[in-house]
Symmetry: C2
Subunit: 332 residues, 2 copies
């Protein structure tokens, strides 16, 4: 089978690609070809795998070729991130809305009914006061009222995926990803970036800024569980997926303080002290519109579960990125 | 003040325009200019009013000029209808999505923060089985899962109106119109068209086809109450409107049988017998995805109420269109 990952050079796209190649199959079929499309170049060593083609360029420009290639399956992860979309409205509309629409149009033109997993986001949720306050618990049927351009663009894309699916142009499944943490590498401009930074930077013996109050609760998922959810959404039957509405995922809910407590338990108080609280009204405003608690009954029926605790998430990061850790761990 | 009505030659656009000119003011300001834009030409006698400019052409082509004109207010009613959008996917995307986006972009470019009332539709609602069945009662916070391309396009447009408003580009208010009945004139290709046809045609001594089972319940609003709701949405304060989420309207819920009973009570059994039941699976499928019962608490707080009964709706039609009635009324 022939697969495409948009955003294939990104953190999640790379992890997904590596995971798929290691498995070798998807939905019972052997993976013969895996195209990683991204605006950013990437030269990971596993790209030498003869099944992999790395393609660098914008999705919008690449859609014509995609239409001709008749992929069996697509994971659509390419996206401008939340803070970018808030700072540059037109960039977000182009990167997140126009690109998704062009991709869906290209897949429809291919005419082979490809399967598509779309990475939407829990950022579609938010309160729209006074009539619709932020829900304290998000259920499968909770009405998203996005409070950021990023959330609006993701929610609109969900609607397009649903209608292209209903029309029989594609077999689309939208999954609302939670904040994925701990991300490796550099901060990426997402309003949620600090949720990785306050762990990743101290573990590298670097200072880090926490821009929100310590009692702020957030809904998280580890990279591994996130990739598992994307693959499950691809592999399950249309009937099991349960309709064309986007799927919420089970979340680990923790406060920022609990995240720092877990860091301290593993690396000690001097490492925790590398995190400086410096509240940023802009980030706080965006993060405060995201719900922290989910009751994801539909995903649970599909066999998905949240990360059990934040310590396990830190351990996953340390095991996957040993060279990024430059401090002595007290307990690991 | 300078106003624009898109879809200004349509039934609802015309009624709104006439109502506004008769009032002479909107939100406390005198109406000096009223532009009626529509793809279809229109030559109603009241267009001779010196305040009125009739502009014939597509909205998409007209947006550049609209951006320069800096209207104070816009009623955006132009739309391809549900059955058209289902038959021609690309037409619907262009007429309902691209046009709305271009209009919003033009209004943003004008830079004068115009007020916009967007005519969305209760067709955004529908069931997405098995996870999300059709809700038996639609509340203000009910999740729309549109089951038609028309509904998807309206729901996406709502999101755009909300985000352009949040960003301070416009002051937008989206209102989800119910099926408006009794419409005068000819059938218009909407899946809901029969809800006018089964009254209008018999009253003109013509045969009419009812394409759905008689016990089908539908949610209706008269033309007058619909126009009242659009004007209220324009005139109320931003705070009173209650957020940026689209507003549901109070509905009169009746079965098709009750509609025909009301017709018979006014015009007799021979007139009712002009309606032939001939079920159409395509129309039934679309109509069956629309909920029939609404609890519109937010609209009620704004002072809106449903039509009290269907007989009153028929009476409104007869009084407004006396020349279209060609049968003797037994009781009126």
């Amino acid at each position: 089978m022939r697969l495409l990952i948009t955003g294939g050079a990104g953190f999640l796209g790379s992890l997904l690609g590596r995971t798929l190649l290691t498995r070798g199959t998807l939905a019972g079929q052997g993976i013969e070809r895996l195209v990683l499309l991204d605006v950013a170049p990437s030269q990971a060593e596993w790209h030498a795998d003869r099944r992999v083609e790395v393609r660098t360029g914008s999705l919008l420009a690449g859609c014509e070729a995609i239409g001709r290639e008749r992929f069996d399956g697509v994971f659509h992860l390419a996206s401008a991130v939340s803070a970018e979309c808030e700072a540059d409205f037109d960039l977000g509309m182009r990167s997140n809305l126009d690109s998704t629409r062009a991709l869906l149009g290209a897949l429809r033109d291919g005419g082979n009914l490809p399967r598509l997993v779309f990475a939407s986001s829990a950022a579609v949720f938010g309160g729209d006061p006074p009539t619709l306050p932020l829900p304290s618990l998000v259920e499968d049927f909770t009405l998203p009222t996005p409070q950021s351009s990023y959330g609006i663009q993701k929610f609109i894309s969900e609607q397009l995926v649903a209608d292209f699916t209903r029309k029989g142009f594609i077999d689309g499944r939208a999954v609302r990803l939670l904040t994925v943490t701990v991300r490796p590498g550099r901060p990426n401009g997402a309003a949620s970036g600090f949720m990785s930074g306050i762990i990743r930077e101290p573990l590298a013996a670097l200072e880090s800024v926490c821009p929100v109050a310590l009692d702020t609760e957030v809904a998280l998922s580890s990279p591994t569980r996130t990739v598992d959810a994307l693959i499950m959404a691809y592999e399950c039957s249309r009937a099991a997926f349960g309709g064309r509405t986007a799927l919420n995922l089970p979340a680990l809910t923790v406060s920022v303080r609990q995240m720092l407590d877990a860091l301290e338990a593993m690396a000690g108080p001097r490492i925790r002290a590398l995190v400086r609280l410096e509240r940023d009204a802009n980030i706080e405003r965006i993060v405060s519109t995201w719900p922290a608690r989910f009751h994801a009954a539909r995903a649970t029926r599909l066999g998905l579960s949240p990360d059990p605790d934040f310590r396990g998430i830190i351990e996953q990061y340390i095991l996957e990125h040993p060279h990024a850790v430059r401090v002595e761990l007290e307990r690991f």
